[in-house]
Symmetry: C2
Subunit: 728 residues, 2 copies
């Protein structure tokens, strides 16, 4: 491009931007038959007033729908941005080669019959991708419904009447996109900027699209329907950056094994472990919703809200029922119905002396006739109360004129216009739940212009606020500088231990695991290793009258309890000697010939709250941290949370507080509260240990007991990768 | 009414029917001012073409809106069914007296200012009710928005454009009714038959309205928004009968303490303990939904569905995303995505040879162009599969013509018409989730006429099916004959024990509680009562080498553990003697002078799964049964369920299976499965014991341990009412 005069420095456009907003589109396999995709593709571009050049390719036609038709891609004129490939799977390799020779930047491969159908399709897909890489052609799909982008009116999808606006949408399912577009058409007030059916992600993956939409100033929020990542780590990295700029809201399919199976047969996607996805995405600042129909409302609301600084919400209405519904929903979704200050209450009382309730929720009804003009001064008073982070208005607003006649309209219109300004002025989210949302009343049109989101249902509006609080907190966590290294470099002793174990072809012994953790600043309970029964007297003397646990130490015995290699509550030299004999006999019976390094003897852990903590490798996300309630809880209620590594201190604290039964942390049955910071510190250190020693495949601390005096790591197991270079 | 010729015997109409469908309406406080309620009340009746007589009452007017106005109720002509009282609270007593003298059957008291505002209002309300009872006038309200009934077009509410249909609606909140009416106006296809804002329920209560709507053949399902019962037992009784005939679907507000507080300030209602309400309502056959916006869709769907015989659902679509969403939602809501038989799969394959999936979910998409005509034969094949109880169609149906052009319309229309007939022919629910629901397409109009419910969102459609399965199961449970008495009459020994304890002014000792349970066929662990330390030797000899628990028996010590009155793991006479001394010392320290009856000695319970089981008195529902997970579970996860007494065997089994973590019953950590029938039998016996001995205030079995050999009641406490007659 000639630059004859100096230009303002501009943000260079993302490398996908030109493909997603092409100035020219080849229709490969263009047809005169109006029901064929090669014709409908042109129809959609025309009906959406595509501002670029449409170039049909078909050797047997001269013209299609008024556009000159070219016999081959080679003969197509001008710079070529995008090819919409409507032909069948077996033709695609040839098409890509032609595209490559003509320097077409990208191609949408609509055809199915690739990796989603099994091995044969996978081979074809790999060949297509190899060709495309060789020629520098980027691929959307295959097995995709296409793409829509509003900037140039590029409807390469075929869905009619897509409302235009600032929302991005990326999806593993075209059908779910239809669902969301219909929400935008019938309920929403924000339309679509760019939407993509990612298909098999053979070449371009979710994270590249997300990065492009993240950099597009015309996109205010991105929605995703996801059945599976191809590169989860890359996605997290892009998501973390993108969510500093705009909300990313995601529905992750495949929460259950039945859902995973359905996803697999549909898009060939391998849905990961849901709990791991959820944790890793939260950590990356992504808002995960668990109802498909929440995706659109939440994205819309989050793109309009200022940051939500806390979780304290005030609710305002005329009429009590929706306030009751809102109060229950707020509490159940982890928000706080905070008490308004005396001053705020006094101000509300001055506005509506006979209000039914003024402390929060605020019920402006009661005795007097309904009056929309109450909302303005009430909401202003609340927004000025420092104890409140957001306002939810429920019930009739938006319908006063419909319900009570046109004389109610002027006041209602004024309030609706005012709310947006108030939201921005005070920098606190305001959302309206209106029974009249679907009537699209004049008041709601005004509210929309004022930039205030409104929802039809109380519980959905509350979900928007809960997501806003979470998203703002995540953004704040991720805005902090890089993870401070609690530990500088790898400890030589730890490296030696790992190298020796690898050389011996085994995992770490429990004693080695304990020493390794200890040398990274994790306080470990004191222990003695008895090399023979003869060491019992010295150990007994050392520990005095403390009751002891004894555990076999053997590289041949992975599951000590199963081998009956653990004895509890021992006291005195005789007990230790007898213990040695019993465990040795059990070990010999369990696995004849197993080599016993000795017996680990350590004081019994004090009573307290049990947790399990671990590091493991997830096939999608790589190394992840696990934190959960231990004891019988583990299996029955499965209250465990995950985060990807490395783990920042803020994420570790968030992780600890994310347990479903986090009330356990406050102390159960008179137990003292658990020291959250100490647990978080332990998590961060483990993360750093895994980072410094990539040979570690798994760390398993089960249980860690939090007690009055601190926390005790009762058992430590470290499993090694056998084929990883020894230096990070 | 003269009966000049013989008539068909008809069901006599319910005593409220004439008040809810009045043939004449007095407007007390009628006004010429069009913004006043006394004028708007007449406007609404006129605009809804009320078929009865409108009689305005106002001493200062001759005519209002064309209706002759009467100076007083006394002078109003003809038979008077209903008075709509628009005047303020302080006038109401005089109005009721006038109504009474003129034999008006019922009155709607719109005014607020009664019990909802506190003590002064309550006194006024009581006086009004006393007067009304004296005169035989039934009262709706006070503090109500009124009533709408479609039969005669009686809009005594004021809300415009209420769609008419077969649904009943009873509510503590007029504002929530507005929300539901707007759903019916904009999304639904069923309108309202009768709706009532029950106000303070000073006279007519929820259960009386419900009974009336239950007997009304024009009502196919009843929705309720409830903030509080006045007579929960009466409600349960009516609900149990009504749900044998038609669905009753309820949203119960006040699940959280914040919600309860909001309800209180709004309607003065005392929301009961939510878990108890939920359990007792489920037992009565009521479908409880936990989102307000589910109320209308679920009522609509349940009123159209045939009974759902099990929980096995098949899902059909063209396109995989919504199938994945549906699979996750089904499993999460307790339904089963059952495998289709080979035969069914073969039939589907014959219809769509290249379908993406045919085993369930069925994805008819894949390769071929979308074709609505696939749905008919696929759904028929599925409905004929005995392994399937219901069919859910998700995605595009209802929108083929909109999406793919008019040529798709004929096939789509034919399928939509056919689905209703298929549903009824096979007696299995069919529901459609259509992205196009809110476009109200021609296809959806046909589906509506065919009587097939459709929903906009997958998760809501799944909720409808889950509710249908629950409601059908409850109906089957409640259709069983009366509770068989596992125990005939009160045992004389038990009566003597209770009488003796009452005479002594104390609750039962643990030994007495154990004996009482035992004599009603509840197997209790063997025990010995040591009257003195001297009995230790005999007890030790009796129990041999079994390890024993020792507990203090004293009417003065209610909380044995707190008093350190329990020792575990004792063995041998010496240990028992020492134990006696230690517990006696602890008891003396805990409560000096406490009288010790002795020490109960019993073998330690085997390990197993701990439950808590109890009977207690709920302020709203009376005696209720509690069943829950015991041990540390009790406090942390609070997995407890409730039912009202008496408890039928089927309800007891349902109760056991209703735990949130019911997987515990299948055996945790290699434990054997819990004997559900044995637990249920225990619950039924406890229920019967409470019934036979109304002097029992509370039974507390904590824990009951289910183990390999059966179940052990480890601790039993029975607390007595001190002021109840001794015979049931």
């Amino acid at each position: 491009m000639p630059a004859s005069k100096p230009q303002q420095p501009v943000q260079p456009e993302h490398y996908l931007d030109r493909i997603l907003n092409p100035r020219s589109i080849l229709i490969v396999g263009a047809s005169k038959d109006p029901v064929k995709r090669g014709n409908r593709a042109i129809q959609s571009l025309v009906s959406d007033h595509y501002a670029g050049t449409i170039i049909p390719i078909n050797p047997r036609e001269k013209e299609i729908l008024g556009f000159p038709c070219y016999p081959s891609i080679a003969e197509a004129p001008g710079e070529l941005d995008l090819a919409v490939v409507c032909t069948a799977a077996h033709t695609v390799k040839a098409v890509i080669e032609e595209c490559g020779r003509r320097k077409v930047k990208g191609a949408i491969l609509l055809a199915a019959g690739f990796s989603e159908i099994g091995e044969q399709g996978r081979i074809l897909e790999d060949e297509v991708v190899a060709l495309a890489r060789q020629h520098g052609v980027r691929l959307i799909g295959p097995n995709t419904n296409g793409m829509f982008s509003a900037r140039l009116g590029c409807n390469a999808w075929g869905l009619p009447d897509i409302p235009r606006g600032p929302l991005g949408l990326l999806s593993n399912s075209a059908n779910c996109v239809t669902s969301i577009v219909m929400q935008a058409r019938t309920h929403g007030f924000m339309g679509i900027s760019t939407m993509l059916s990612v298909g098999n992600q053979a070449d371009i993956e979710f994270h590249e699209y997300l990065e492009c939409l993240g950099e597009d100033p015309g996109v205010s929020a991105v929605m995703l329907y996801l059945e599976g990542f191809k590169d989860a780590a890359a996605f997290r990295e892009v998501a973390r950056r993108t969510t500093q700029k705009k909300p990313v809201v995601m529905y992750v399919a495949g929460r259950t094994s039945e859902g995973k199976r359905a996803a697999k047969s549909h898009s060939g996607s391998l849905a990961g472990a849901y709990a791991i996805n959820r944790g890793a995405l939260r950590q990356s600042g992504v808002t995960v919703v668990e109802r498909l129909y929440h995706l659109y409302p939440v994205a819309e609301a989050l793109s309009l809200f200022p940051p939500m600084r806390g979780r304290r919400v005030a609710v305002v209405s005329e009429g009590g029922g929706p306030l009751t519904v809102a109060a229950d929903a707020l509490v159940e979704q982890g928000l706080v119905l905070a008490q308004l200050s005396q001053e705020t209450q006094a101000r509300i009382h001055a506005v509506v002396p006979n209000a039914t309730a003024i402390d929060n929720p605020v019920d402006a009804g009661g005795g007097t006739d309904p009056r929309a003009e109450y909302y303005g001064p009430i909401v202003r008073a609340i927004l000025e109360d420092p104890a409140i982070d957001a306002v939810l208005i429920v019930g009739l607003l938006g319908g006063y004129a419909d319900r009570f006649g046109e004389q109610a309209a002027p006041a209602e219109h004024a309030v609706c216009a005012e709310l947006g300004a108030m939201m921005r002025e005070h920098g606190k989210p305001v959302i309206v739940q209106s029974h009249y949302s679907d009537l699209k009343t004049q008041s709601l049109r005004i509210l929309r212009e004022a930039g205030v989101p409104f929802q039809r249902h109380v519980e959905v509006a509350v979900q928007c606020l809960a997501c806003a609080a979470d998203a703002s907190a995540a953004r704040a966590r991720n805005a902090q500088p890089a993870v401070p290294a609690v530990v500088q470099g790898p400890a030589p002793a730890a490296m030696r231990t790992i190298e020796a174990a690898l050389a011996a072809g085994r995992d770490l012994l429990e004693t080695e695991a304990r020493d390794l953790l200890q040398c990274y600043g994790i306080a470990m309970p004191e222990y003695r290793l008895l090399r023979s029964a003869g060491d019992a007297a010295a150990a007994a003397a050392h520990f005095g009258d403390r009751r002891l646990a004894m555990k076999v130490v053997s590289a041949d015995i992975l599951h000590k309890s199963e081998a009956q290699g653990v004895l509890l509550g021992l006291q005195g030299a005789d007990a230790l000697r007898e213990g040695w004999a019993r465990i040795a006999a059990n070990a010999a019976a369990y696995r004849p010939g197993s080599r016993i390094e000795g017996m680990l003897v350590t004081p019994m852990a004090p009573h307290g709250t049990e947790f399990i903590i671990g590091v493991t490798d997830d096939p999608q996300h790589g190394p992840v941290m696990l934190f959960g309630l231990g004891g019988v809880f583990v299996e029955v209620i499965g209250d465990v949370v995950f985060r990807a590594l490395p783990l920042a201190p803020a994420d570790a604290l968030d992780m600890v507080g994310s347990l479903r039964h986090a009330s356990v942390l406050d102390g159960v049955r008179g137990a003292p509260p658990v020291d959250r910071a100490a647990l978080a510190d332990l998590l961060v250190r483990l993360s750093r240990i895994r980072e410094l020693h990539p040979q570690i495949a798994e760390i398993d601390l089960n249980p860690v007991i939090a007690h009055a005096g601190g926390q005790a790591v009762v058992d430590a197991r470290i499993v090694l990768h056998r084929n990883v270079p020894t230096q990070a």
